[in-house]
């Protein structure tokens, strides 16, 4: 039985009936060493991958689940990794981040080869990239939280304290995201969940695609070419956030 089937190890899909494919799959399943290459080819087309960068900056459960939910018909694989090879094998990249700029930047640099991989992925391969909260702030050239610390420099700007004009800090809760540019990432309108005390001050105003108000007007989202960032947490932001993540997965910068 096995010997007979092995003559058809690489059947073309057009020539093969569903029943044959099923039988072939069963035969291959009995041969573990052939399962991976043959099994993949027989059962499903390659699935695009979005890689959530895991560099010790907070929990990733919500971001991963948010992306899985946002992917129509489970059409994306969500990987969690800080391995340069996995980052570069992905089709899209999400950089989360909570806590302070300095500790997140240190966490990123502590992973061997990770920053270089992110630079290659965004600058050379032009992969769509989304930074969330401190992940967005890390896109800047410089952060001023706990001393001056260098960022990734993907979007020019610096991260400075929010001038809340006497309002309570952190800016914590749901606030309106106001589109200031016509950008495919942005859902029409809505409130998103923010929690931060520092903001991204963009050098080039045209990199700002949405704003929010708390004591002062500040960037709620930025985008330059294939690199984008959200100051709010789309993964915590109900239907609005889900729409934003879906837009990111469909984004063709």
């Amino acid at each position: 039985m096995l010997r007979k089937k092995s003559s058809k190890r690489f059947p073309t899909a057009a020539k093969q009936s569903g029943h044959q494919a099923f039988e072939e799959g069963r035969a291959i399943a009995a041969r573990p060493f052939l399962l991976r290459c043959d099994g993949e080819a027989l059962t499903r087309p390659p699935m695009p991958t979005v890689c959530v960068i895991d560099y010790g900056a907070g929990n990733l459960h919500s971001a991963v689940r948010g992306l899985e939910r946002a992917a129509p018909d489970a059409s994306w694989r969500v990987a969690v990794s800080a391995e340069p090879s996995e980052v570069l094998a992905a089709d899209r990249i999400v950089l989360p981040g909570v806590g302070a700029f300095a500790s997140c930047a240190a966490g990123l640099r502590a992973r061997p080869g990770l920053v270089d991989a992110l630079v290659e992925a965004t600058a050379e391969r032009k992969l769509p990239f989304l930074g969330i909260c401190v992940g967005m702030q890390l896109l800047a050239d410089l952060g001023e939280e706990h001393g001056e610390v260098e960022g990734l420099g993907f979007v020019s700007g610096k991260v400075r304290a929010l001038k809340a004009d006497g309002l309570r800090l952190p800016h914590m809760g749901w606030n309106e995201v106001v589109p200031v540019a016509d950008h495919p990432l942005l859902p029409p309108e809505g409130d998103a969940y923010f929690v931060h005390s520092f903001i991204f001050e963009a050098t080039d105003e045209s990199d700002i695609i949405a704003a929010a108000d708390y004591g002062e007007r500040f960037p709620a989202a930025v985008a330059r070419e294939n690199v984008a960032g959200a100051q709010f947490h789309p993964e915590k932001s109900g239907a609005y956030g889900q729409a934003f993540l879906k837009n990111f997965l469909e984004w063709r910068p």
């Binding site: 907070g58 929990n59 919500s62 914590m172 109900g238 609005y240 889900q242």
Partner: protein, 255 residues
């Protein structure tokens, strides 16, 4: 165009189950905290709070699992409190998927746990939970052990210390009003919100919808937490929001 007031249903969780159950919608399992939290998020809750009342610290794993599943199913922030003893406990809960951790008696015993937690996790993740009782006109004292044990610590001064030590929020419960449904202790709220510049969550006493608005418009709270009025279906999240909007409180209208 402004920051909205948060409406926070609070669930008491014991050994991975909701105590007293949640009867506001047709849940398949009224005792499942994950299902209840997701349903509240769907209904428009701006944040969910779990209070873990598991007696034994050894059963912590169950809570972590519950937190992870909830973070995956509820598309809103999750605050977890109860039995948090150290910065390590805070980090474990954050890694499991919580967004903010409320520290209560451990902070009263040793406020340094607030400092250590804020350094390890960031102020945005650290909530100082204060249980206070009115002991004299204009004076509130912190009580522990469910309101049975006085500590001699002034609640307002402790809130100020919590802010100095890096807490990003105060969860302020009036032990006089808790479960009584006669309204939040607005005087206590005023005293604390005027003393600190971090957000204050009002807790204890919500029985009518206008109580929710009063905590914000008079008490200065940034968020209102309630349990029984939602769990027993007295009011829906939407009814509460509509009433608050009618009273001029900025609320999130779509979700």
């Amino acid at each position: 165009m402004s920051l909205k007031t948060r409406l926070i249903p609070c669930l008491d969780v014991k050994d991975g189950r909701v105590v007293k159950g949640v009867n506001f919608v047709s849940l398949r399992d009224a005792g499942d905290p994950v299902e209840a939290a997701a349903a509240y998020a769907e209904a428009g809750a701006d944040e969910i709070c779990f209070l873990d009342i598991t007696a034994s610290h050894e059963n912590r794993g169950t809570l972590l699992e519950t937190v992870t599943h909830t973070a995956q199913e509820a598309l809103c922030p999750l605050t977890v409190g109860g039995g948090v003893r150290s910065a390590e406990d805070v980090l474990a809960l954050l890694r499991a998927g919580a967004d903010k951790i409320a520290i209560n008696s451990a902070a009263v015993r040793d406020p340094a746990v607030l400092t250590a937690s804020a350094l390890a996790a960031g102020s945005q993740a650290v909530v100082c939970a204060i249980d206070a009782k009115n002991v004299a006109p204009g004076r509130w004292e912190i009580f522990t052990h469910g309101g049975r044990k006085p500590t001699g610590i002034d609640a307002v001064q402790f809130a100020e210390e919590a802010e100095r030590r890096g807490a990003g929020e105060i969860l302020l419960t009036s032990m006089d009003r808790d479960g009584v449904k006669t309204g939040y202790d607005v005087e206590l709220l005023k005293a604390v919100t005027s003393a600190v510049n971090i957000p204050v969550v009002a807790s204890g006493g919500a029985g009518e919808l206008h109580h929710l608005s009063e905590a914000v418009t008079v008490g200065g709270a940034s968020a209102v937490l309630a349990a029984s009025i939602f769990h027993f279906g007295t009011f829906t999240i939407e009814e509460a929001k509509k009433a608050m909007i009618a009273d001029g409180v900025p609320m999130r209208r779509t979700w």
